[in-house]
């Protein structure tokens, strides 16, 4: 390492530049990771908040929550201790007397079911015209006691509770009871309670395998799946994640190539020096260690600086930007970046071994 460090001190500018490139690429990797996680969280947060294990959907829905149609009577067909009927709807919301609309995800659920989030303000809804909003709607001017209009429903709903910030389909979340949900679906009038629509049933603490569904001849077919499978099938979730992750994987290759080429060029410039050193009996292993060591130093410094810069950036990003710092993922990606940089250095090893010390004699 002695030789490696001394050379880096001597040729500061070169190594600053390559550390700079390492820093920028690592920064992009961390930012993409933050965005990928931010988007993923934006899609699924409200679902993960439930802490459920199993989701039951209608079989016709092809595992897509928005396409799933069930009735409240279906709840009794599912054998589980803790189960909740959930209605799901994506619509717009506006404060009464205002014209500005906000897109929201609406969950219908009985007020005592486990899917209803705990509150940071107010109380749970106790009738068909009360709602709980997630705290991120406060940014749009919503507050406790306000009246809101949802979709084209004629009723006004009163905000009685506020839960912590959460999202579904990257939209803030509103909870209300199943009657209100049926009303939003435009079906409340002509249906009995048992016939009211719901989208899915969430089951807590019980795997899909352990969850039995009774199906009589006339019943619609239901499918059960794990929460993870359900999340993977959320619209856009997998595609966005795959796109951003693919960019990250490409960056790993780019890092290996950029650092590899840099070190290779540096090695080529030092071929005659390596010849002289080898003539003096300095071993290949020491010279290789030196190049790989430089790669290690450059990548560690670059990654650490990028890590710090990314954390600072995450603090100043606007709240509207879906960005989640996943420290363990950053550490993993940082380690991968360092490892691929070392792999990049391997390009140079062959050239070092090939140098014939004979060339050091005779001045050719």
């Amino acid at each position: 390492m002695f030789l490696a460090i001394k050379e880096m001190k001597y040729a500061k500018l070169r190594y600053f530049l390559i550390i700079g490139i390492m820093l920028l690429v690592s920064y992009v990797v961390f930012m993409l990771s933050g965005l990928a996680n931010g988007l993923a969280t934006g899609h699924k947060q409200a679902i993960t908040d439930w802490d459920a294990s199993t989701i039951v959907l209608s079989s016709d829905s092809n595992k897509i929550a928005n396409a799933s149609m069930m009735t409240r009577s279906d709840l009794t067909r599912i054998q589980a201790k803790r189960k909740a009927a959930v209605g799901l709807l994506s619509t717009s919301s506006r404060l009464s007397g205002h014209s500005g609309k906000t897109n929201v995800s609406i969950f219908g659920a009985q007020e005592n079911s486990f899917v209803v989030p705990s509150l940071i303000e107010g109380h749970k809804y106790s009738n068909d015209h009360e709602v709980i909003i997630s705290a991120n709607l406060k940014n749009d001017g919503y507050s406790l006691g306000d009246k809101i209009k949802l979709g084209n429903d004629p009723h006004a709903f009163k905000i009685v509770g506020i839960s912590k910030s959460t999202t579904y389909s990257i939209q803030p979340v509103i909870y209300l009871n199943l009657n209100a949900y049926a009303s939003l679906k435009g079906t409340s009038g002509e249906l009995t309670t048992a016939q009211q629509p719901i989208s899915l049933v969430a089951v807590k603490g019980q795997s899909p395998e352990a969850t039995k569904i009774t199906t009589h001849k006339s019943d619609a077919k239901l499918s059960k799946l794990s929460v993870n499978e359900f999340i993977t099938n959320l619209p856009g979730y997998s595609a966005e994640k795959l796109t951003l992750n693919t960019m990250i994987y490409f960056l790993f290759v780019i890092v290996a190539a950029v650092l590899g080429i840099f070190l290779y060029v540096m090695t080529m410039q030092k071929i005659s020096l390596f010849g002289v050193l080898k003539a003096q009996g300095i071993k290949n292993s020491y010279l290789i260690q030196s190049v790989v060591g430089q790669s290690l130093i450059v990548s560690v410094i670059g990654v650490v600086l990028a890590f710090i810069l990314s954390v600072l950036t995450s603090l100043v990003l606007p709240a509207a930007m879906p960005f989640t710092v996943n420290t363990s993922e950053w550490l993993l990606y940082g380690a991968v970046l360092i490892i691929v940089s070392m792999i990049g250095a391997l390009f140079s090893i062959h050239s070092i071994i090939k140098v014939d010390p004979i060339n050091a004699i005779g001045g050719e």
Binding site: Y10, V276, K278, I358, A360, G363
Partner: protein, 221 residues
């Protein structure tokens, strides 16, 4: 006591009608305390001679011994160790590492040889009058200073054999004489065996023996 012994050394390259004989029947024995010069025009085989004497390539025939180690019987790794421990090289274009200060050149040898060379290198730098240059990089030195540092570098781990390849090639006459005198003094005072390869007749006057090499044939001058 003989430090380097070369016995019936031949070196050929190629085969059949492309066969080139670079060295023919070289016999040489250099004792501790001897400074010998080998003189010859370019293409005479003196580089080949030096690479074989330095264990950088094997002769086609004959045996070569350094400090009683038979080089022809050693593998590459062992020859590497011999070069590192038993031989000091002074090369034409100076064997210094451009990104190390003079002091760090010695520190590298110290680290690789796992022995403390501080006192020795300090004494060498002082005796060669380059102590003041210890914090300078090679490019900040004059040609003569560089070769003096290179000689100190070759001597610092105390090898018995010094191989100098045209050490005066890039120097003006005054500095060239100075460098040769340093080599002669090292040989005589500190009992080193020193072989200097040169094409410059004037540099041989401090040598104990002078050999001429022409078309691979070795002869006493």
């Amino acid at each position: 006591m003989s430090v380097l012994t070369m016995d019936g050394i031949y070196k050929t390259f190629g085969s059949g009608h492309t066969l080139v004989t670079a060295l023919t029947d070289v016999n040489l024995s250099v004792n501790a305390g001897e400074f010998i010069s080998i003189i010859g025009p370019s293409g005479s085989g003196k580089s080949t001679f030096l690479t074989i004497a330095g264990g950088l390539q094997s002769p086609s025939r004959g045996t070569i011994k350094i400090d009683n180690l038979n080089l022809t019987k050693l593998n590459d790794r062992q020859k590497n160790d011999v070069r590192f421990n038993n031989i000091g090289f002074v090369l034409q274009s100076s064997n210094l590492i451009p990104f190390l200060t003079v002091a760090d050149q010695f520190k590298l040898v110290e680290k690789l040889s796992h022995q403390s060379l501080q006192q020795r290198s300090e004494a060498l730098l002082k005796s060669l009058d380059i102590w003041d240059l210890k914090d300078k990089y090679p490019k900040e030195l004059s040609g003569g200073e560089r070769q003096r540092v290179a000689i100190a570098r070759a001597l610092c781990h105390n090898p018995n054999l010094i191989l100098a390849d045209e050490p005066t090639a890039s120097l003006d006459s005054d500095h060239a004489y100075e460098v040769v005198k340093i080599l002669a003094t090292e040989a005589h005072k500190n009992k080193k065996a020193i072989i200097m390869v040169t094409h410059d007749e004037r540099m041989t006057k401090w040598s104990d023996r002078v050999y001429r090499i022409r078309d691979g044939h070795f002869a006493s001058a």
